[in-house]
């Protein structure tokens, strides 16, 4: 049995992957989904996690600095893209910020918000838009604000936007306008076992990639 601590946004894909993995092997997979920061701190406090899957590199770095992950096993598993969204009506196209609120995750704390702020700064829009930004504790809440029409614009991951029929994607932010959005994975220090390695390998397998891809993630090449 292996325990995977993974960012909550990966829940659906990971559950499918775990299910198919369990069908193929005799291993049991437990998924504990929460915020990346929460999970990282729990690992620091000795959580029974075998594999950590973070929504941003920072918390992975934080653990690595403390020697709490097996650095050799760290891989950048997934990428995501940042998009500007609006409610489905009226139909608009392009990087049009309109007027009114812009929903984002916390711009100083939550990865999607941090990336979004960086993108806006790169585009030179941040000073003008800053006062219109409303921040939520996670990107799903920002999505909900747009879906409900409370905020006319939002900046979320493409994976979130794709699955929400009540929003349309206006534009994708240029990949170079913000640091790369990377979901790293690693085996937790001292948890290196054949089973953990098997599952890590499975995460990089074609089957897993297909599932991640269907959810909208861009799959990284296993080049590290």
């Amino acid at each position: 049995q292996i325990t995977v601590f993974a960012a909550a946004s990966l829940k659906e894909s990971l559950e499918q992957i775990a299910a198919s993995y369990e069908r193929q092997t005799s291993d049991q997979v437990r998924l504990s989904m929460a915020g990346s920061s929460t999970l990282a701190r729990q690992i620091e406090q000795g959580a029974p996690a075998d594999i950590y899957l973070s929504a941003n590199p920072d918390w992975m770095d934080w653990l690595q600095d403390r020697g709490l992950i097996d650095a050799a096993t760290r891989v950048d598993l997934l990428r995501n893209r940042l998009v500007l969204i609006a409610p489905t009506r009226p139909r608009i196209k392009g990087l049009d910020f309109g007027d009114g609120r812009i929903a984002m995750a916390l711009v100083d704390a939550v990865p999607a918000g941090i990336y979004g702020k960086a993108a806006l700064e790169t585009l030179g829009e941040w000073p003008a838009l800053q006062s219109r930004v409303v921040q939520t504790d996670n990107v799903r809440a920002a999505l909900a604000l747009v879906a409900l029409g409370e905020a006319p614009r939002g900046i979320v991951y493409q994976t979130d936007a794709l699955a929400e029929p009540r929003v349309q994607v206006l534009a994708e932010f240029p990949a170079d306008s913000h640091p790369p959005i990377i979901y790293p994975a690693a085996i937790v220090a001292g948890r290196d076992s054949p089973a953990s390695q098997r599952f890590m390998a499975y995460l990089l397998s074609d089957q897993a990639r297909a599932i991640f891809g269907a959810a909208g993630f861009a799959v990284m090449q296993a080049d590290r």
Binding site: S37, D61, R101, L106, A109, T136, D137, L148, G149, E150
Partner: protein, 230 residues
């Protein structure tokens, strides 16, 4: 204090404002609800009772989401109230509403327990002396439930100071408008190395709430001593 930046001070001030108003507005409503639940029986009483407890039962995010659906600009009540100039969405008023809703069950319970402990014979005595129902409440019931009111108020205030999930879901986190202490604390906890700043804010919010607590204890103690007759 130099160890707090202006943004943090803003959050402190806002949290105080939000908690103050949440408590203040909840107080008469909570007292009324508690009175009705304690002393009346009517069809739908248990439904009202359950409704009051809902924010306690549901995860705060859900409460926040429901508030958004109801009191948002597109929400049924929200759009109606907007015409009267009462806007909650993305305003500090919304933060106060969320805090008030979350604190409501605690307040109602405390006050209700106190009302149930008041001897109806005293209220009857007041009635025989010419006091109408309202006057009986004001001159007899209310002073006698002061401990419960104080307890309910301080519970509500403390809860309002700590409320996070429903608030951020409902009104987001806009610096200076809806960025209360708990959302600021949450933000700091999301980034590596933010613990120190978070801790400072936690200390501040604890100091404020404990101050309110001690004040309420002092007042309750005085009231109790007077009734015991010194």
């Amino acid at each position: 204090m130099s160890w707090l930046g202006p943004e943090e001070w803003q959050a402190v001030a806002l949290s105080l404002k939000v908690s103050f108003w949440a408590t203040l507005v909840a107080l008469p409503l909570g007292t009324l609800t508690a009175y009705v639940l304690a002393r009346h029986s009517f069809p739908g009483k248990q439904a009202l009772n359950a409704l009051v407890h809902l924010p306690l039962i549901m995860p705060p995010v859900v409460t926040g989401y429901l508030l958004l659906l109801t009191f948002g600009t597109r929400g049924a009540l929200g759009s109606f109230l907007q015409e009267w100039g009462l806007v909650f969405a993305f305003r500090w008023t919304g933060a106060a509403l969320a805090a008030g809703v979350m604190a409501f069950p605690l307040m109602v319970r405390a006050i209700r327990l106190s009302i149930e402990a008041v001897d109806p014979k005293l209220e009857q005595a007041a009635a025989t002396l010419g006091a109408s129902r309202l006057w009986v409440f004001v001159t007899v019931t209310l002073p006698l439930i002061l401990p419960g009111i104080l307890a309910g108020t301080v519970l509500a205030f403390a809860k309002a100071m700590g409320e996070f999930g429903a608030t951020i879901t409902f009104v987001s986190n806009i610096p200076g408008e809806t960025r209360t202490l708990p959302t600021a604390i949450y933000g700091f906890l999301q980034v590596p190395g933010g613990e120190g700043a978070a801790l400072r804010l936690v200390v501040i919010s604890v100091v404020i709430a404990v101050g309110a607590l001690l004040l309420s204890e002092f007042l309750a103690h005085r009231a109790a001593r007077r009734v015991a007759g010194a």
